[in-house]
C-alpha cells in the first residue's frame, strides 16, 4: 500500500450550526486520481475544502504528508497542495500568461516576484493545457472551456505534488469536459501528482479515476475502484437513482444508464435483457 499524502482524521465539518460530517476518516494515496461523488448536498465540496484547508474542521485534523495542515503556514501548504475552487473570480484586464503567473506566488518572495524559472514554468503550464496560442489573450475574452483550461494552467504552474479540483467540468460541454479530464490524467501520468476532484457525472468519474469515494448522509458510503463502487445498489441508495451499470464500450469502465420509473416505460426491460446478455458473454 502506498503512503497517504492527504488524510482527514476523525474530522467534524460543517457550517455554523449545521454539521455535514462527524468523525469522518478518509485518506488519499499518493499518485492516485480520486474522485468524490455523491448527491447534491452530500458534502463533496465540503470535504474537498477541508482537504485544501479552506474550511477548518471543528474537531479532528487534516494531515498533509503526516503533518497537521493547520500548523503549517499558508505558504508552506501552497507549495505542496494546489486547489482550484468552484467559482474563482476572473480579474479584469489580465492576459492568460499574467493569470497563470499568479500560480507562482507561493514560490516567490517580496523582492523577487519574478524569476526565469517562474517564466519557464508558466510557459510549460500554458503549453500543457494547450493555451499557447491564447497566452496573450485577455482572460475575459475566453470561452468557458478555454477559461477553465487557463485556471488549470494556473494550478499547474503552482507545481505542487497534490492538486485538488472542485467541479472542474461544471458548465462545460461534453467535449470540453473530456478535454479537462484527459488533461487531469495526463498531469497524473507525467508528474505522478496526487489528484482529488469533485465531479457530478458518474460515468466520467468512473472513466477517469483510480478510486471513487461515495459520500452519503455524512459518511463514506462506498469507497474503492470504479467497478466496486458503481453498482445499482449504491446508485439506488446514495443517489436515489434506479440505473443499470454496463461496461463502457470505449473504456471498459462502468457506465451508468438511468432507468425510467417502472410504470411509465417499456424500453428499459429490453435494455436490461440486452445488457444481461452482454455481461453473460
Amino acid at each position: 500500500m502506498t503512503t497517504s499524502t492527504l488524510a482527514a482524521e476523525r474530522v467534524t465539518l460543517g457550517y455554523d450550526s449545521h454539521l455535514v460530517f462527524t468523525d469522518l476518516n478518509v485518506s488519499i494515496a499518493e499518485g492516485s486520481v480520486t474522485t468524490l461523488i455523491g448527491a447534491n448536498g452530500c458534502g463533496k465540496s465540503t470535504l474537498l475544502k477541508a482537504f485544501g484547508r479552506l474550511l477548518p474542521p471543528s474537531a479532528g485534523a487534516v494531515r498533509l504528508c503526516g503533518e497537521p495542515i493547520r500548523e503549517l503556514s499558508a505558504r508552506a501548504v501552497a507549495r505542496q497542495l494546489a486547489i482550484l475552487p468552484q467559482r474563482p473570480l476572473t480579474p479584469a484586464a489580465t492576459t492568460v500568461r499574467d493569470l497563470v503567473m499568479r500560480g507562482r506566488h507561493p514560490h516567490q518572495s517580496l523582492l523577487r516576484p519574478w524569476s526565469r524559472e517562474d517564466a519557464a514554468l508558466v510557459d510549460q503550464a500554458i503549453e500543457a493545457t494547450g493555451m499557447t496560442e491564447l497566452a496573450d489573450r485577455d482572460v475575459n475574452e475566453l470561452s468557458g472551456g478555454q477559461l477553465q483550461r487557463a485556471w488549470i494552467a494556473l494550478v499547474l504552474a503552482q507545481n505542487t505534488p497534490v492538486i485538488l479540483l472542485d467541479e472542474p467540468t461544471t458548465f462545460l460541454d461534453l467535449s470540453h469536459q473530456l478535454e479537462v479530464l484527459r488533461l487531469v490524467r495526463a498531469i497524473n501520468a507525467r508528474q505522478g501528482s496526487t489528484i482529488v476532484m469533485v465531479l457530478h457525472d458518474l460515468s466520467l468519474a468512473a472513466r477517469y479515476s483510480d478510486r471513487l469515494i461515495v459520500l452519503h448522509q455524512g459518511r463514506v458510503f462506498a469507497d474503492g475502484e470504479p467497478w466496486e463502487v458503481i453498482t445499482p445498489e449504491v446508485l439506488a441508495t446514495a443517489f436515489g437513482l434506479e440505473a443499470l451499470v454496463i461496461p463502457d464500450p470505449a473504456s471498459g469502465r462502468p457506465l451508468v444508464v438511468p432507468l425510467e420509473p417502472a410504470e411509465s416505460s417499456e424500453r428499459p426491460s429490453a435494455v436490461r435483457s440486452q445488457t444481461q446478455v452482454q455481461q453473460a458473454s
Binding site: 475544502k49 485544501g52 484547508r53 479552506l54 503556514s73 499558508a74 505558504r75 508552506a76 501548504v77 501552497a78 507549495r79 497542495l81 494546489a82 486547489i83 482550484l84 475552487p85 467559482r87 474563482p88 473570480l89 480579474p91 479584469a92 484586464a93 489580465t94 492576459t95 500568461r97 499574467d98 503567473m101 499568479r102 500560480g103 506566488h105 507561493p106 516567490q108 517580496l110 523582492l111 523577487r112 516576484p113 519574478w114 524569476s115 526565469r116 517562474d118 517564466a119 508558466v122 510557459d123 496573450d136 503552482q158
Partner: protein
C-alpha cells in the same frame, strides 16, 4: 504587460512592465511640474526657474521667504494629501474588489469629520469638555475620531474573519450614523462655528503649516513599504478569498494590513486638510486606465492623487479670482468623472 521578460538584479527581480513604468515616470513628471507651479503661483509671482534655484539653496532672501515660509508648506501639503489619498483609494478599491469603494467606507472620513466638528462646535460652546477638545487641536481630535470609527467598522464586520462585502455594508451604516451626528452638531451650533466647521468639512489647504505636513510625511514613509509589501497578495486576492488561501496568502492578516494602511493614510490626510473629496476615488481609476492593469497600481495611483490635489489647489487659488477650498475643485473635477465612468461602464456591460 507580459510576465515573460523580467529584470533580475540578484537581490531583486521584477517582471518587466513597460507600460506601468512609463505611466509611473510620466506621473512623476506631472507631479514635479504641478509642484513647481504650486510654488510659483500666487499674489507675488515667481519664475519657474527661480523656484528651483531657491529650493536648491541659491535664491534671493525675498524668494527664500516666499518659497520656504509661504508656498512650500502648502505645496508639500497638497503633495502629501494627494499621495495619501491616492494610495489609500487604490488599497481600498483593490481589497474590496469594488471600484466605487473609497476609504470613506472604512468609516475613517466620517469619524474624522464628526470629531473635528465636535471640537469646533462643542469647543466653541465654552463647556469645559469642549474646551479641552479644542485644546488638543482639531487634527488630533479628527485623527482619534477617524481611527475609532474605523476600528468600530472593522470590529463589527468581524465574524470568523472580515469579509469585504460585509465590511462595505457596515462601513456605509457607520458613515451614515456619524454623518447624522455631524449634521446634528451643525444644526445646534452658532453661525460662526458652522462657518468654521463647513470650511473644514469641504477640505482646504489654506491653513496648512509645516506642523500638519510632517505627520503626513512620516505616515507616508512608514506606510508606503507596508502597502507595497501587500501588492502581490492584493493581486492574488482578485481571484477570491478561497483561491488566495490556496495560493498561500494569509487572507485575514493581509486584509488587516491593507485596511490599517488605508485607514492611517486617509486619517493623516483628512486630519491635515479635511475630507478632500473624490481624490481617493478618482486617482486609482485614472491610474488603472493609464496603466491598463487589472487593478490600480499603488505608486501610480498615489502620484495621480498628488497631481490632482496640487492642480486643483493651484486652480482654487488662481482661477476663480478669490480663493476657494481645494475640496470644491477636486469635487468639480471628480464628480463628472464619476458620472462618465458609470455611464461608460454601463455601455461596456451592454455590449
Amino acid at each position: 504587460m507580459s510576465g515573460r521578460q523580467g529584470v533580475d538584479l540578484g537581490f531583486i527581480a521584477l517582471p518587466w512592465r513597460a507600460r506601468l513604468l512609463l505611466v509611473t515616470l510620466a506621473c512623476v513628471a506631472v507631479v514635479v511640474t504641478a509642484f513647481t507651479f504650486g510654488i510659483a503661483a500666487g499674489s507675488s509671482r515667481i519664475g519657474v526657474g527661480d523656484v528651483w534655484t531657491t529650493l536648491l539653496g541659491a535664491g534671493s532672501r525675498a524668494f527664500e521667504f516666499i518659497v520656504f515660509e509661504l508656498r512650500l508648506p502648502r505645496a508639500s501639503a497638497g503633495l502629501a494629501v494627494g499621495l495619501c489619498l491616492g494610495m489609500a483609494g487604490a488599497l481600498t478599491q483593490t481589497f474590496s474588489r469594488n471600484p466605487l469603494a473609497t476609504p470613506d467606507i472604512l468609516g475613517v472620513t466620517a469619524g474624522a469629520s464628526a470629531g473635528a466638528v465636535s471640537a469646533i462646535v462643542i469647543g466653541g460652546g465654552g463647556y469645559s469638555v469642549g474646551a479641552s477638545l479644542l485644546g488638543v487641536g482639531i487634527p488630533v481630535v479628527a485623527t482619534i475620531g477617524g481611527l475609532l470609527a474605523a476600528a468600530l467598522v472593522y470590529g463589527l464586520s468581524w465574524r470568523q474573519g472580515v469579509d469585504s462585502f460585509r465590511l462595505i455594508l457596515i462601513g456605509i451604516g457607520v458613515t451614515a450614523i456619524l454623518g447624522g451626528l455631524t449634521s446634528f452638531l451643525l444644526v445646534r451650533a452658532q453661525l460662526t462655528q458652522v462657518s468654521a466647521a463647513t470650511q473644514w468639512l469641504v477640505g482646504s489647504l489654506s491653513g496648512v503649516s509645516w506642523a500638519s505636513v510632517w505627520p503626513m510625511l512620516v505616515v507616508l514613509a512608514v506606510v508606503t513599504p507596508i502597502a507595497l509589501s501587500q501588492s502581490a497578495p492584493l493581486e492574488i486576492n482578485q481571484l477570491g478569498d478561497e483561491f488566495s488561501t490556496g495560493l498561500g496568502v494569509a487572507v485575514q492578516r493581509h486584509r488587516l494590513a491593507v485596511i490599517v494602511a488605508a485607514v492611517v493614510l486617509t486619517s493623516a490626510a483628512v486630519s491635515a486638510a479635511g475630507p478632500v473629496e473624490f481624490v481617493a476615488f478618482v486617482a486609482p481609476q485614472v491610474a488603472r486606465r493609464l496603466a491598463r492593469s487589472s487593478r490600480p497600481p499603488l505608486l501610480a495611483s498615489a502620484l495621480v492623487g498628488a497631481a490632482l490635489v496640487m492642480v486643483a489647489d493651484v486652480a482654487a487659488r488662481v482661477a476663480f479670482g478669490t480663493e476657494i477650498p481645494v475640496g470644491v475643485v477636486t469635487a468639480l473635477i471628480g464628480a463628472p468623472y464619476l458620472i462618465w465612468l458609470i455611464t461608460r461602464k454601463n455601455r461596456e456591460e451592454h455590449l
